[in-house]
Structures are given as structure tokens and as C-alpha cells.
């Protein structure tokens, strides 16, 4: 950047202030003008609303704004107060726009420099038509990534920054704009969750524990169940392999919310399973499949197996068929029994190929919203926990309840960050693992 400034002529230097000037001088009129237009639009936005929004973000941090009711003294007139939520949202939008603008600014300077260099070397700077053409050739990535980048910036990055910031405010049910203001509170939310003396941490730690427990049990039960099922279907002497596979794939193809809702209604107090068990004389009282603290946990794990085993089975059958048959033959000749063959050949091979899948699955299960939400909704509720949280709640479902039911956005955001930390940790493990896998010569 500095080099460009030093080497460039007067127009290049000026184009640091007036975007696109350098391009225009070298004959790239359309390009130059569009850079200029972007600059003007940005500054217009900044001077009309942007700067104001930004300055308010700062004052959100000082205590003087907090808890002041927006009533003018004197005659009793209610004036419209500040809306902390909107201030924060627009502040984030302005910051993102500013970063985007600076990116454009840098691009315009590079582009101007390139035009200048072309002139210096005696070539004609590429005109507008050439630029458009290059969008379909060397610069195709700009064409292809423009929409995704815009989409991700608007609907993912911006909301995410907004919510991350929220974790450091006190935007809970008692501080709801527009009636009330909320303000920055630093790390208080994290401290409240982690410390050992209040109801929040009494909720957080058990839920975190159950989330981890659930993640591991759900992942490995489906994984081994799926491998086992695939091995049975693929084993010699089973006719109609396709039919068997289709039976299981059918349950997997049904949208999971439907199968979960159906299973939920079947397992209810008056659901068909309890009714049949009573009719057959197995039980006299309904089994609390979804309402007992322990039985609900067992039920969600079993139902999750019902959904997850076919998925693993389908994925794994292809891999199973890839295992070289000679390995099994030589093992048989050496007198290995089926258990030994599994632990020494099948399983290591599977593990080798499916480790990344396994870990993505693990992270997916930590965040397995659907199974819990549709089956138990986190119930049974308990008074030991913070309002609304129940014994089968995972961190994600608790997060959902905090945003949707109790409107404690700050806590929800804090938990979101905790989930991010968990996912990131496990992803890092995969990342280093899969690199190690790549370095190896492969199985055997």
C-alpha cells in the first residue's frame, strides 16, 4: 500500500482520497465512476445516520444511559426513548459496512495502480468490456462468490456479531427495549454461568454434563449399531440385500420431524405403546417414557438410535464393501474368529476412513436440536433449574428456550459462545487428526 503511494504519480496519490480517480485518468471511466459512486454512497450513509449510530454504541457502554426512563420533566410528555437493541443492530451494520468499504477502497487503489502500470508499460488499460469478459474467465471467482459473500455477510456474519456482542450486555427479560435500556456488563454473564453459587450455574453445569454425555452415547450407539447392521446385511448368504436395506432406509427418508412427532405421540401416557403394554399385561401403570428424569434420557437415546442407525448403515455399507476380501480370507486361514476379525480388520479400517465423519457427527449431536425438541421439549422440568429448563435439555435447546420463551438474550448468546468453544475444540481435534491421516500412507 505504502509502496503504491510512493511510486504512484499524482493521480494515484489523489485516488487514495477520491476513489477511482486513477482509473478514470487511465481511461477506465465506468470502473472509476463506480468506485467513486461507492465512496459517495458510503460517506452519504455515514454522515446521515452512520456516525450517529456508531457514537451511540459507545454511550451504550457508559452507565449514564442505563436505566434512565425517557420522560421529559416539566410537562408530562413521553418522548420516544433510545432503543438499545436497534442502536446495537445499526451499530453492527455500520461497522460491517465500514469494513466492506475499506475493502473496496483497497481494491480501488490496487486497480488504479494496475491501470497506471499498464499505461507505463505502454499497454492499453483493460476497458469495461474487458473487465466484464474477465469475470467469465480469470476473475470468475469474483462473479461466483459475489452473491454468497453478500448473503453470508448480511444474514450470517452481521447477526452473529450482533449476538456475540449481546453476550456482554444485560439484555434479559428485565431489560427489554423499547421500555427499558440495556447496557454493557462485561463478563458478568459468563461469571454467572460458571460460578458455583446461583441457580444459573446450577442449571448450566448439569446441562453441559448431559450434553456431553448425550453427544458421546448418541454418536457411538448409532455408529456401532450402523456398522453392525451393515455387516449383517452385507454378510454372505443374506438374500434380497436391497430389500432389507430399503426397509431401514425408509425410516431414514421420512423427514425427521414427522418420525419424531409420531414416536412422541406413541410414547405418551395414553400413547399406543403404553396401551399395548397394558393390554398384554406387561405393566399396570403407564411407563413415563418421556416424563421421568432418567427414563426420558434413555428414551431419547433409544429413539435417536432408531433414526441414526440406518443413516450410518447406508453410509458404511459402501465402505465395508471396499475392504479387500483377501484380508478376511487370510484371517480365516490363520484361524481368527469373527470377533477377532472385527477388532483387527473391520473396525480399524472403518475407524481410519470415518474419523472425520465421526467427529462431525459428535458435534452435530451436541447440537442435536430436533430429537430433544420434538420428543421431550427438554422435559421433565425441574425446580432445581433456571426457569423453563428441563432434565433432558441440551445446551442448544436451552438456548432456544432462552431466546424464545424467556427472552434472556444475553444468556442465550453466552451459551451460544460456550457451544462454539466446544465445537471448535472438537473440530480442532479432527483437523489435526485428519492431517495426520493424510500424511499416513493409508490403511495397512
Amino acid at each position: 500500500m505504502i509502496r503504491i503511494f510512493k511510486n504512484g504519480d499524482i493521480f494515484t496519490k489523489l485516488s487514495f482520497l477520491i476513489c477511482g480517480l486513477s482509473n478514470m485518468v487511465r481511461g477506465q471511466i465506468v470502473k472509476g465512476l463506480s468506485f467513486l459512486a461507492i465512496e459517495i454512497a458510503y460517506f452519504y450513509y455515514m454522515f446521515t445516520t452512520g456516525i450517529e449510530d456508531l457514537s451511540k454504541i459507545g454511550t451504550l457502554g457508559t452507565t449514564q444511559q442505563g436505566m434512565v426512563f425517557d420522560e421529559k420533566q416539566g410537562i408530562m410528555v413521553m418522548t420516544q426513548g433510545d432503543n438499545s437493541m436497534l442502536i446495537l443492530l445499526f451499530g453492527v451494520i455500520t461497522v460491517v459496512l465500514t469494513f466492506t468499504f475499506f475493502a473496496f477502497w483497497a481494491v480501488s487503489i490496487y486497480s488504479g495502480e494496475q491501470a497506471r502500470l499498464a499505461k507505463v508499460h505502454g499497454k492499453k488499460a483493460p476497458g469495461f468490456i474487458d473487465d466484464v469478459k474477465s469475470l467469465f474467465n480469470d476473475n470468475i471467482y469474483k462473479l461466483f462468490l459475489a452473491v454468497p459473500v453478500f448473503g453470508i455477510l448480511t444474514f450470517t456474519v452481521m447477526p452473529l456479531i450482533y449476538m456475540i456482542l449481546m453476550a456482554f450486555t444485560n439484555y434479559d427479560v428485565n431489560h427489554q427495549p423499547p421500555g427499558n435500556l440495556f447496557t454493557w456488563v462485561g463478563m458478568d454473564n459468563f461469571k454467572a454461568l460458571i460460578s458455583s453459587t446461583n441457580v444459573l450455574s446450577d442449571t448450566f453445569w448439569p446441562i453441559l454434563g448431559w450434553t456431553l454425555c448425550w453427544g458421546f452415547i448418541a454418536t457411538f450407539s448409532c455408529y456401532f449399531g450402523g456398522i453392525f447392521l451393515a455387516m449383517v446385511i452385507n454378510s454372505k448368504g443374506i438374500a434380497f440385500k436391497k430389500v432389507w436395506r430399503t426397509i431401514f432406509v425408509m425410516t431414514m427418508a421420512i423427514p425427521s420431524f414427522i418420525s419424531l412427532l409420531v414416536v412422541k405421540t406413541m410414547l405418551g401416557k395414553n400413547g399406543i405403546i403404553n396401551v399395548l403394554l397394558k393390554n398384554w399385561g406387561f405393566i399396570t401403570e403407564s411407563v413415563p417414557f418421556l416424563t421421568g428424569p432418567l427414563s426420558a434420557k434413555i428414551t431419547v437415546i433409544v429413539v435417536n438410535m432408531w433414526i441414526g442407525i440406518p443413516v450410518t448403515m447406508l453410509m458404511v455399507s459402501g465402505i465395508l464393501m471396499n475392504i479387500p476380501g483377501e484380508l478376511y480370507e487370510s484371517a480365516k486361514i490363520d484361524g481368527a474368529n469373527p470377533v477377532k476379525t472385527f477388532t483387527k480388520i473391520t473396525f480399524p479400517y472403518m475407524l481410519h476412513v470415518t474419523t472425520p465423519y465421526l467427529i462431525t457427527n459428535l458435534i452435530g449431536n451436541f447440537n442435536n436440536f430436533g430429537v430433544i425438541y420434538f420428543l421431550t421439549g427438554g422435559e421433565p422440568l425441574t425446580l432445581d433449574y433456571y426457569k423453563g429448563a428441563g432434565k433432558t435439555d441440551l445446551l442448544v435447546t436451552w438456548l432456544y428456550k432462552l431466546t424464545n420463551d424467556s427472552k434472556d438474550y444475553n444468556l442465550a448468546a453466552t451459551i451460544g459462545i460456550v457451544i462454539f468453544i466446544i465445537s471448535a475444540t472438537f473440530s480442532l481435534i479432527t483437523y489435526s487428526r485428519s492431517k495426520a491421516v493424510k500424511d499416513e500412507e493409508g490403511f495397512m
Binding site: 443492530l89 462468490l145 406413541m266 398384554w280 399385561g281 420434538f374 442448544v396 471448535a424
Partner: protein, 418 residues
């Protein structure tokens, strides 16, 4: 006795016969103890034949035991393939009957005053459990004699478990008696009104509208999402440019945040641009986040040899032409996989639509609508219609999925290979 028959494994004859004989003896010891009276299988058989709804349940078991014993003895002295196969059939039938009787005994005992009492499963005594375990063990050994894979037993049991909820929902959808609570599995009357009611104009449940809403959202999202994923993957896989790995890393990090953490903010933005409570919002958000799921498709593109691109460039092709003429034609499995997943996504999505659409019922998608029907206030009235609606949603998807299963597997296993 050391005979050898090709295609049979006669060494399993002994355990098979022993368990058969032991089971036969178990018939004569107490099978059911109601109160202080106990009954063996033979008395059960004679008593049930005297006027119960399940007339022959125990009689059949006794008969099957006798036939099996005869066949077993023949097999022992004159082994042959035909006898082996017959024994396998009888053995399997016996195993199924003994298991089924577990569910019928209560009806048998309760309907016959001679037993004098109500039945609970704990009333089964040693004889029954011996029969159950021994007939299973016998079946395994008989299958082994015939060199039939014993995996069939397991697959049959698992299939029943897996198909049970599906069968239940199918039966409920055509059940004539409405209501959530019924005391039996098979309906007393059948009707298709549950389906037709869903699409009636004056129906309380605008299911037809929901279905069309979802279909529109799914199709439009599907087109947009597929295009965006293909383009993103192509750019990231085939073109090397500055900031490429940074872009991929940023997406990786963003992807680790739980998706609906920022939902409330997205909702505010949508409200700001006037799209709250519309279907357009769902399409826009689906398309906007599409690029985040580029991994599998990029993984597939990575496996297409670079030399093809180079050859095309030498022939004067532009990148655009490479994309449309080389990469796309070679990527049929992954394109179908992407279309399939991006079409199915909106069908099953619940959380985000429910937040965006709020209480605007006419705009609901099927997921929100069906969940709304299972609410405790509505479940009693609408349970059968809920079942019919579930089938209306699932059946097309299941057919689509099974038809395109191959591509799904190829897409997934491509991802595993990296």
C-alpha cells in the same frame, strides 16, 4: 452316525435336537400360574380350544412341537436336505408362535373364567420361558444345519422394530374412529376421509395451503441453493485466488456457532426490510446461507482431474466454459445429491420458519403445521388427520429418496474420502 450331506452342517444336529427335546418336555411343566393354579401347555391348549377368541394359539404350539420332534428324529437317523428345510420352516413357525403367544395369553386367560383371575406377564412360569429360549436356540441351530445365515433372525426382529411406528401411522391415517387414545393397534373401521378432510375448503386445517407453501419454498430454495453451492464450490476448488483459504477458514469458524443463536437478529433484519412473516424470507435466508454447505460438493470437484481444465484452457476455453462444459457434465452424482438435500432441507426445517412466520397460520409450512396439530389441545381431535398429513408429506419424499439413494451414498462417501 458320521454321515455327511453336501450343503448341510450336520454337527449342529445334536444341539438342535437336544433343545427341541428339552422344549418338548417344557411343554409339560407349568407354563402359566394364575393365582395358585398352574397350567401346562397341554391344558392351555385344551382349555383355549373350548371357546376362546384365540382358539388355536396354544394348540398350534403343541402341534408344531410334535411335528418338529418327528422331523428332528427323521433328520437324526436319515439326514436329507428336504427334511432339513422342512424342519427349518416348522422351527421358525414355532419360534414365532411361542413369541406371539406372549401377547395373546392375557386375552386367553382373561376371557376364560376357568382360569379364575386376571393375567399379568409375571404370571408366566418357568415352562414358558424355557420354551421361548429353547425354541430360539433350536431355530439358530436348525438354520446352521441348513447353512442358512442366522442374520435373518436379527434382520427380521430389527425390521419389525423399525417398521412398527410406520405401520402405526399408516393405520392411524386410515382409521375411522377418530381420537388420540384408542386401546388397540388395528383400527375397527377404515376410511379415507382423514385424507380428504385435509384438503376440504372449509377445513380448520389449511393443509393444502401448507403443502403448497412448503413446495414453493422448497423448489425455489432448491434451485437457488444448488446454483450457489455449485458456483461456490467451483470457485473454491478450481480457481486459486488471494484470500481463498482465508474465506474457507472464516466459513469454517462461522459454521461452529449454533445456527439459531443469531436467529433473533436475522428476524430483526428481515423485519427491517419488510419480509417478516413471508415465504420470501425463508427462501432468501436459505439461499443466503447456502454457501456454508459447500464442503461435500467441493470435495467432489477436487476429485475431477486438473488436467481436464488445463487441456480445455489450451484449447482456448474460458473458465465459464470449463464450468458449464467440463465440470458440470462430470458431476451428475453430486448435483443430484445437492438438489436432493437442498430440496429436503426446507421440508424438514422447523425452527427458523416457526420464528419467521409466527402466528400467521395461512403461511405455515408443513413442519410447523403438523407440530401445531400435535399440540395437547388439538391432538385428540386431529390425531388421525395429523397421521394422514404426515403421510402426505413423507410418501413423496421417501419415494424420491429411495429412487435417488445411490447418489446420496455417493455424495456422502465422496465427503468421507475428503
Amino acid at each position: 452316525m458320521n454321515k455327511i450331506v453336501i450343503g448341510m452342517n450336520l454337527k449342529y444336529r445334536i444341539p438342535a435336537l437336544l433343545s427341541l427335546a428339552a422344549g418338548f418336555i417344557a411343554m409339560f411343566i407349568s407354563v402359566v400360574t394364575v393365582g395358585d393354579k398352574s397350567f401346562n401347555a397341554l391344558t392351555m391348549a385344551t382349555m383355549t380350544m373350548a371357546g376362546s377368541k384365540f382358539t388355536y394359539s396354544y394348540a398350534m404350539i403343541v402341534a408344531l412341537y410334535v411335528i418338529a420332534l418327528v422331523l428332528g428324529l427323521i433328520l437324526f437317523f436319515m439326514p436329507g436336505k428336504l427334511v432339513g428345510k422342512c424342519l427349518a420352516v416348522v422351527s421358525a413357525a414355532k419360534c414365532v408362535s411361542v413369541t406371539l403367544v406372549m401377547f395373546m395369553t392375557k386375552a386367553v386367560v382373561d376371557s376364560n373364567a376357568a382360569f379364575g383371575g386376571k393375567f399379568m406377564v409375571k404370571d408366566f412360569s418357568l415352562g414358558y420361558w424355557l420354551m421361548l429360549v429353547l425354541s430360539l436356540y433350536e431355530l439358530i441351530n436348525v438354520l446352521k444345519i441348513n447353512k442358512i445365515n442366522t442374520g435373518y433372525i436379527l434382520l427380521t426382529v430389527m425390521s419389525i422394530v423399525w417398521l412398527f411406528p410406520i405401520l402405526w401411522i399408516v393405520l392411524t391415517s386410515i382409521r375411522k374412529e377418530q381420537g388420540y387414545y384408542v386401546g388397540y393397534f388395528f383400527p375397527k373401521g377404515y376410511t379415507i376421509e382423514n385424507f380428504t378432510n385435509l384438503f376440504k375448503n372449509n377445513s380448520v386445517i389449511p393443509f393444502g395451503k401448507w403443502w403448497i407453501n412448503t413446495f414453493i419454498v422448497a423448489s425455489v430454495s432448491c434451485v437457488l441453493v444448488t446454483l450457489i453451492i455449485l458456483m461456490t464450490s467451483f470457485a473454491l476448488s478450481r480457481v486459486r485466488f488471494e484470500g481463498r483459504s482465508l474465506f474457507m477458514k472464516i466459513i469454517l469458524v462461522i459454521g461452529m456457532f449454533p445456527g439459531f443463536m443469531s436467529m433473533i437478529a436475522v428476524y430483526n433484519i428481515l423485519k427491517g426490510i419488510g419480509l417478516a412473516q413471508t415465504l420470501v424470507a425463508l427462501v432468501v435466508v436459505n439461499a443466503a446461507g447456502a454457501a456454508m454447505g459447500y464442503y461435500i460438493c467441493k470435495g467432489f470437484f477436487d476429485t475431477i482431474p486438473k488436467s481436464l481444465d488445463e487441456a480445455a484452457i489450451i484449447d482456448g476455453a474460458t473458465r465459464w466454459q470449463i464450468f458449464t462444459r467440463v465440470t458440470i457434465p462430470l458431476s451428475k452424482p453430486i448435483i443430484i445429491y445437492t438438489i436432493l438435500t437442498s430440496f429436503l432441507g426446507p421440508w424438514t426445517d422447523y425452527i427458523f420458519p416457526s420464528m419467521v412466520l409466527g402466528d400467521k397460520q395461512s403461511m405455515y409450512t408443513v413442519a410447523i403445521g403438523l407440530k401445531w396439530l400435535t399440540d395437547f389441545q388439538r391432538i385428540d381431535t386431529y390425531y388421525c388427520q395429523f397421521a394422514a398429513g404426515s403421510l402426505m408429506v413423507s410418501v413423496p419424499i421417501v419415494i424420491l429418496f429411495i429412487a435417488l439413494q445411490r447418489f446420496y451414498v455417493e455424495g456422502l462417501s465422496g465427503a468421507v474420502k475428503g
